[in-house]
């Protein structure tokens, strides 16, 4: 059974990447959108451009993983092809993990392009590669699970897009991408601590500037918890679609 689950996961991810993700508009949108935001912010507030790189990477992963992920499942449900996966010999968590894997692979691929450009411009001095790898991986997992949860929680594609933006845009401004969380009012800092993007930005900041593993470990732990909770919620919600 485990072999069936793993095989199903792999091929669902592969199929999603081929059918939905690796299309020119998705790739260009995935890279340009975070760049445009950061560029706008940098023009308005020129200064420590290198300090914006963790936020840029976190935004790229967030939008790269969740944009398509948030609509893939609801789209397949609308056209009936999600039933094909329900009928396949694999368990529901494996089905959803396949969906997550597709979103993560695309998000990480786009992010690696942005990372390569950032390192070429600003250099790699002080980068903790292991921490960077873990931060990217756990961020991709958490954001992909967020996208999957959004996708199973709604019935229409436009509802998925609306809900995803309702969650992502406030997160973008509160998650430490543009301004440090510490500079926010206390009550907004509390809100920021409930958002996975905050921990992603912090972990990536630590990875790129040789920060402490002690605090980074907490960030990675928080991202792992977000991943597990959002994934479990998505599996539970999806299971309710079986009448």
């Amino acid at each position: 059974m485990l072999a069936d689950d793993l095989r199903g996961m792999f091929y669902i991810a592969l199929k999603d990447l081929k059918a939905y993700y690796f299309k020119p508009p998705n790739i260009s949108w995935g890279i340009l959108f975070p760049f445009a935001f950061i560029l706008a912010f940098a023009i308005r507030n020129p200064g420590d451009l290198r300090g914006l790189v963790p936020g840029l990477l976190a935004l790229t992963i967030l939008f790269g993983t969740s944009s398509m992920e948030a609509i893939v499942i609801v789209f397949e449900r609308r056209i009936g092809s999600l039933e094909r996966l329900f009928l396949a010999p694999l368990r529901l968590p494996a089905l959803l993990a396949g969906k997550l894997l597709g979103g993560m692979t695309f998000g990480l691929t786009v992010t690696l392009v942005v990372l390569a450009i950032s390192l070429a411009v600003f250099g790699a001095r002080g980068t903790d590669w292991l921490l960077l790898f873990l931060a990217l991986l756990l961020s991709a997992t958490a954001f992909s699970a967020l996208g999957a949860f959004v996708s199973v929680a709604v019935r229409e594609v436009f509802e998925a897009q609306t809900l995803a933006n309702f969650i992502r845009f406030p997160m973008m401004f509160l998650g430490g991408v543009f301004v440090p969380v510490e500079s926010l009012p206390v009550w907004l800092q509390v809100v920021a601590r409930c958002l996975p993007l905050t921990y992603s930005v912090e972990a990536l900041h630590a990875a790129l500037s040789g920060g402490s593993w002690t605090t980074a470990a907490l960030d990675l732990g928080a991202l792992a918890v977000f991943s597990a909770v959002l994934f479990s919620l998505a599996v539970y919600t999806l299971s309710r679609h079986i009448e």
């Binding site: 091929y11 081929k18 059918a19 056209i79 009936g80 009928l87």
Partner: protein
């Protein structure tokens, strides 16, 4: 005879929703399907046909009752059952963005067909379903009949011994429907057990070894088509066509309860030496049986599905 599906007291009740009362879609049905037969569920829209398929394939949880599929318990062994069945839903639901070939490949990947066999098997299925020329065409670009054929091909990709076909010819043109029926017959010839639902009486009559007529979630009759006919009407009608005095043929009918032979003798005795052009035995059609058992007309059934479509148009 091996029973490939056994169902006991299977029930599905949809709970009350948005002001609607609870719906008893399937009402404690019992039936068994023999290995290698084409078994048809015939009934009007909303009779519970699709709900039964959804329960037997794991898409819907039964409210009560039990079922065994391929000798495995539905409640306990669903993943193992899924591995050995093929399902063709009412709507063709492959992936628009993938080509015909890639859709078949994905079906085989999901079901664990060995890598070395996949390409040859996909090519074989494309040839068999006359889709060879559409190998690299996206599913979205295929005609409705081709989409249906490819959806059936995908369900067969892992060589399941049991195939569920939900309304396989609904909405197809005459030629596509005819072609698909030929494919269903060839499946039976290969030993595949086919469980199909249909609202086309003629389709059930042509294809099915046995038919269950279902109305409002209950099976009202289950037998071979011949058995249903004989059960519905014990009388046989003999029709003799005679050459008329004015050159026009004249038809005479006689209902008989004591055998065809005596009826023919009686009719021939009444010919008065006129030339007999033909003698036919008229038996009740499945439509007659259906109307008698359900009180519904065949036209009502077809109208519910949006017209006669290809499925009713012969073949």
């Amino acid at each position: 005879m091996n029973e490939i599906i056994q169902v006991e007291s299977l029930t599905k009740i949809y709970p009350a929703d948005k002001g609607r009362l609870p719906l008893r879609a399937v009402d404690g049905i019992d039936f068994a399907i023999h290995e290698g037969e084409v078994f048809g569920f015939l009934g009007p829209n909303g009779a519970g046909k699709t709900t039964i398929i959804r329960m037997l394939t794991g898409l819907s949880r039964p409210t009560a009752g039990r079922a065994q599929v391929l000798g495995l318990d539905l409640a306990a062994d669903l993943p193992r059952i899924k591995k050995r069945i093929g399902v063709v839903p009412e709507a063709s639901n492959l992936y628009d963005e993938l080509t015909a070939f890639d859709n078949l490949l994905f079906a085989m990947q999901l079901y664990g067909v060995p890598r070395r066999e996949r390409k040859a098997r996909a090519e074989e299925l494309l040839r068999r379903f006359r889709l060879g020329e559409k190998r690299d065409a996206p599913f979205a670009k295929l005609s409705r009949g081709m989409k249906r054929a490819l959806t059936i091909a995908a369900a067969l990709a892992h060589r399941p011994p049991l195939v569920f076909l939900d309304e396989p010819t609904t909405g197809l043109d005459v030629m596509s429907a005819r072609s698909l029926r030929g494919m269903i017959v060839s499946l039976r010839d290969e030993g595949v057990t086919v469980f199909l639902t249909t609202h086309y009486l003629e389709e059930a009559e042509r294809l099915c070894d046995r038919v269950a007529i279902i109305v409002k979630g209950k099976i009202v009759a289950l037998d071979t088509v011949a058995g249903l006919r004989s059960g519905a009407q014990r009388k046989t009608i003999v029709e003799v066509t005679l050459a008329g005095a004015d050159g026009q043929p004249e038809k005479r009918r006689l209902e008989c309860e004591d055998g065809v032979e005596s009826a023919v003798q009686r009719l021939l005795g009444e010919t008065g030496g006129r030339r007999v052009l033909s003698i036919e035995t008229l038996r009740p059609s499945l439509e007659d049986v259906f109307v008698q058992l359900t009180g519904l007309s065949a036209e009502v059934m077809l109208a519910e599905k949006g017209g006669k479509g290809g499925g009713n148009a012969g073949g």
